[in-house]
């Protein structure tokens, strides 16, 4: 089978979510780093946006779609339709957090960061995830981890890296972060990924 290719800019941004997933699942892939979207590349993009996931002739854009496709290939989405729905619900929350952070992070000075952390638009999501994890071992509430546990790790890791962690205590999310940080599958990627601030 063709090795998939992910195309994105030399930053963490949106692509870190599918990248972490591929790394964790041990699926080999090529990473095509682009500085800008050339006219030639733009023609291949359905909505003129990256990331792009390509597997032979098959192409998809939109981060959640890429995540779901990879997860389904690896049976990593949950066993029941309820579990899959809960995973999707949490992924939607994670993507909202990402949108908030991408919208603000690189425009903020230290003072604005502090303000963001205290009046955080992402706080309600962190509280929601924390509550789920205090009642269930996994975010999709099944008996096994799914892609969304890993995606929650990427979210916490990213928000921490940006200095935008909302005020409050999130012991379950912190322990989730530690769990995945120590994962041998992710070690190489976590050490070599772009050191960008967004």
């Amino acid at each position: 089978m063709t090795k998939p290719t992910l195309t994105y800019f030399p930053v963490r941004g949106r692509v870190q979510f599918p990248r972490c997933l591929l790394e964790y699942l041990g699926e080999e892939y090529n990473f095509n780093e682009v500085k800008t979207i050339s006219d030639d590349l733009r023609k291949q993009l359905l909505f003129k946006q990256l990331p792009l996931y390509q597997e032979g002739d098959f192409k998809i854009v939109q981060t959640p779609a890429i995540i779901d496709y990879i997860s389904e290939k690896h049976d990593f989405r949950g066993k029941t339709k309820e579990e899959r729905a809960r995973a999707h619900q949490c992924l939607a929350g994670i993507m909202e957090v990402l949108d908030h952070c991408l919208g603000y992070s690189f425009k903020m000075d230290k003072q604005q960061q502090e303000k963001f952390r205290n009046e955080s638009p992402i706080k309600k999501f962190f509280e929601g995830f924390e509550m789920v994890l205090s009642q269930n071992k996994y975010l999709a509430s099944g008996e096994k981890e799914t892609y969304v546990d890993l995606m929650a790790f990427v979210m916490v890791d990213y928000v921490t890296n940006l200095g935008l962690m909302p005020s409050g205590d999130y012991p379950k999310l912190i322990s989730l972060k530690k769990h995945y940080e120590s994962s041998p599958q992710l070690k190489k990627y976590l050490e070599s990924r772009p050191q960008s601030n967004f």
Binding site: L46, F47, I60, V61, P64, A65, A85, Q89, L91, F125
Partner: protein, 202 residues
Amino acid sequence: MTTNKPSFSYFKVLVLGQLPRFTLNYFGTDFTDNYVESIDDEFRKTLKFGQLPLFVDSDGFRLTQTDAICKYIAAKHDFLGKSIKERAIVDETIAAVHDDVIIPGYKVGKGVEDKKVIDTIISRHFTTFENVLAENKFIAGGDNYTLADLYVFVAYHYYKHLGHSEKFQNKFPHLEALQAHFESNKGIAEYIKNRPDSGRGI
């Protein structure tokens, strides 16, 4: 196990509530549709991320987040595509419609986003959907309608509702046909006829 009617809760404005409402009505689901005025503290505590919409199934299963609700309902009706690739295109379409079409359209309607955005969305998204439908009969490229088609219809319908009809004139025959198809569905026709007017045009 006690079973009740499923229920759906959202405000009167269309925005994100219309996607699950269209989906539920398309399948002729018998459900309680709660039009909420505001979220009080008590109610907010019951919402996973403090936000609407909320769907509660007949067995008590609770779900928030628009696309998660629509996908859950669609999964029950085998409406997500037959193959893994088709399902991926459904997801791709759902994400694009929600984030890049519905939300910006709402923001323009609310007056918090520049009107020029609409032209970009029409040339980037609606033109793409038109081209896809010209090439394949269905958005996800399979041999039947899926949630992707329904989402594209809702986006097209919504932009007309927002007052952008003249920008579509004679440009999108396949989207017009898609709209005609879904609006001929009994459940959808009833919903469009009976939904309350938010009085805010959004």
